[in-house]
Each structure stands twice: as structure tokens, then as C-alpha cells.
């Protein structure tokens, strides 16, 4: 089940504790395939990221980037959204299949639960990686937990 594989990816990343964001943070990334059957244009993956002070400082914002690992298909683009407290933002990986991540999406919502989602513009399976980091106002990595709600 895809949702479970996403959870496993997250857990694996947490166990490995690979260095990532800004050279000062723990890795918070996950990968999955959305619309594995390739027939669901509305497929959307959804998770909650909880930002808290783990001793590194009070959270100020959530930082997200996404990378579409699948080969380019005309009209098929992958996006990530962040929602919290009546605010929403998004980012799209405009170049599919390369090694680069998208630009960043940042939502300044302080402490608490943020919803992050991944969607695409039409039917077709897309393998992706997403990174998510709760950061202080000074861009120091702080407490970041994730719970997957929906994997499609």
C-alpha cells in the first residue's frame, strides 16, 4: 500500500538521520509514487507536519520542496501545497526527471500542525521526493514530525 511505503520512507529517513537542510538539520524527506495506476487525474497525497520546539527554538515557518523523478510528459506537472490556519501556498517542479528540486514553498504559521499535499495536473504515475523542515525565524531546524493521512 502506497501510504505505508510513504510512512516507511519517512521512518527510514528518520533512522538514517542524514544531514540535509542548510547543513545543520536532520533529514526530513519522503518518497512515493502518486497515481501508480496512471488513471487518476485527481490523485492527491496528504500529510500533516507538526512543528514544535525540540530545544532548537520556536518554529516560525515550514519549508517544503518537491522533486518529480519521473520522465517528462507534456502537460503533466507535480506540485506541493502547504496549508495552515487559513493560509495556503504551493510550488511546482517545473522540470520533471532531473536531479533538481523545485523552488521552495514557505508558509509562516509558527507552532502547530501544517497540512502538506502533493498533486499533479493530469492522469499519470509520478514518482517523487518531498522535503519538509520546520524552521525558526533564523532558519534553524527545529522539531518536525509527520503523519500521513492519504496516499493515492
Amino acid at each position: 500500500m502506497k501510504g505505508n511505503s510513504l510512512k516507511k520512507s519517512i521512518i527510514t529517513a528518520a533512522i538514517l538521520v542524514a544531514a540535509a537542510y542548510a547543513g545543520q538539520s536532520l533529514a526530513h524527506s519522503a518518497g512515493a509514487t502518486i497515481d501508480a495506476a496512471g488513471n487518476n487525474a485527481s490523485a492527491t497525497d496528504l500529510a500533516e507536519v507538526f512543528c514544535y520546539n525540540d530545544g532548537s527554538g520556536e518554529p516560525d515557518h515550514l519549508f517544503v520542496q518537491i522533486r518529480d523523478n519521473s520522465s517528462p510528459v507534456a502537460g503533466l506537472l507535480l506540485s506541493a501545497q502547504i496549508y495552515k490556519d487559513n493560509q495556503m501556498t504551493n510550488v511546482t517542479d517545473t522540470v520533471s526527471g532531473d536531479s533538481g528540486y523545485s523552488n521552495s514553498a514557505v508558509l509562516k504559521g509558527g507552532f502547530g500542525a501544517y497540512d502538506i499535499s502533493v498533486s499533479k495536473t493530469k492522469a499519470g504515475a509520478r514518482n517523487f521526493d518531498i522535503t519538509y523542515h520546520c524552521l525558526t525565524a533564523g532558519d534553524v531546524h527545529t522539531g518536525t514530525d509527520i503523519t500521513v493521512f492519504q496516499g493515492q
Partner: protein, 147 residues
């Protein structure tokens, strides 16, 4: 059948007059706006909440991109409630997207519109709260964010 009737309603109202972002006294809601008017904000997102009354089974929406096609620039709408979310993307030919729904019962749903790159996009979005028999239960929309 829900999909064609809802689409017909959306199109009919669109032809008559787009109401813009405002509460709707009609059974369904429909509104038009321009997202990222300066054309410089790739992450521009419009966001509203819709409070669906008791008796609601699902909330449905569709979106239409009214601007000229630009390669790599697509308009999508999302419905979000609790631990469920879905997505509809408007085709590049100016037609309506598929109608998508979240079966979340009564309560507050979030409806957003966004796009995949920088560039102003004029769009129309239609929305409706419906019961299990697909009868409209009314809509109460509140705009939260316009970008």
C-alpha cells in the same frame, strides 16, 4: 446523474454572469477572479472556506481556466477537509475541469485555486454542498486569501 447536471449548472451560470467572490444565495456557487494579476508569483494561491450545512454528504467543485494557453501553466482547484483532499485541473482549451468531490459530511471545507508557474490566470470556479441524493444543501463561502 451528478456530474453532467452540476457541470450544466456551472456553465449556465457562467454564461449568464460570473458573480465574483461573494456569498451565493443560489443553490450552488460560482465565481471568477484573476490569480497572480502582476504575473510574478508562481506560488499565488486563492483560498476560501465553505461551511456545508447539516445533511451534506459531499462537497464538489470544478475550475475553468479562461486565459490563453501558456506551456507549463495550468490552473488547479483543491478541496480539503480533515484528512481528505482532492484536485481538479482545468484543461488548456478553456473548458471545465472534471468535477471532483470530497465526501466529508457537514462542516467546513477549504477550496483553493492555484497554478503551476508565474503568470496571470483568469479563472472561474464552481462549488456546491450536496446530500447523499445529490441534492444541493446550499453554500456559505468565505474568502480567506486572494493572491
Amino acid at each position: 446523474m451528478k456530474t453532467p447536471s452540476l457541470m450544466t449548472a456551472f456553465i449556465a451560470v457562467s454564461l449568464l454572469a460570473a458573480m465574483g467572490y461573494a456569498d451565493s444565495a443560489t443553490a450552488y456557487g460560482i465565481g471568477s477572479a484573476v490569480l497572480d494579476a502582476p504575473g510574478s508569483n508562481a506560488s499565488a494561491t486563492d483560498l476560501a472556506s465553505v461551511n456545508c450545512p447539516e445533511g451534506t454528504h459531499h462537497f464538489s467543485a470544478a475550475v475553468q481556466d479562461n486565459s490563453s494557453p501558456v506551456a507549463g501553466l495550468y490552473v488547479s482547484a483543491h478541496i480539503f477537509k480533515g484528512q481528505q483532499m482532492t484536485t481538479a485541473t482545468a484543461p488548456a482549451n478553456g473548458g471545465w475541469s472534471d468535477i471532483v468531490s470530497v465526501n466529508g459530511g457537514a462542516g467546513v471545507y477549504y477550496l483553493s485555486v492555484r497554478k503551476t508557474n508565474v503568470g496571470a490566470r483568469a479563472f472561474t470556479v464552481g462549488w456546491d454542498c450536496r446530500d447523499a441524493n445529490n441534492v444541493s444543501t446550499g453554500t456559505d463561502l468565505k474568502v480567506l486569501q486572494v493572491q
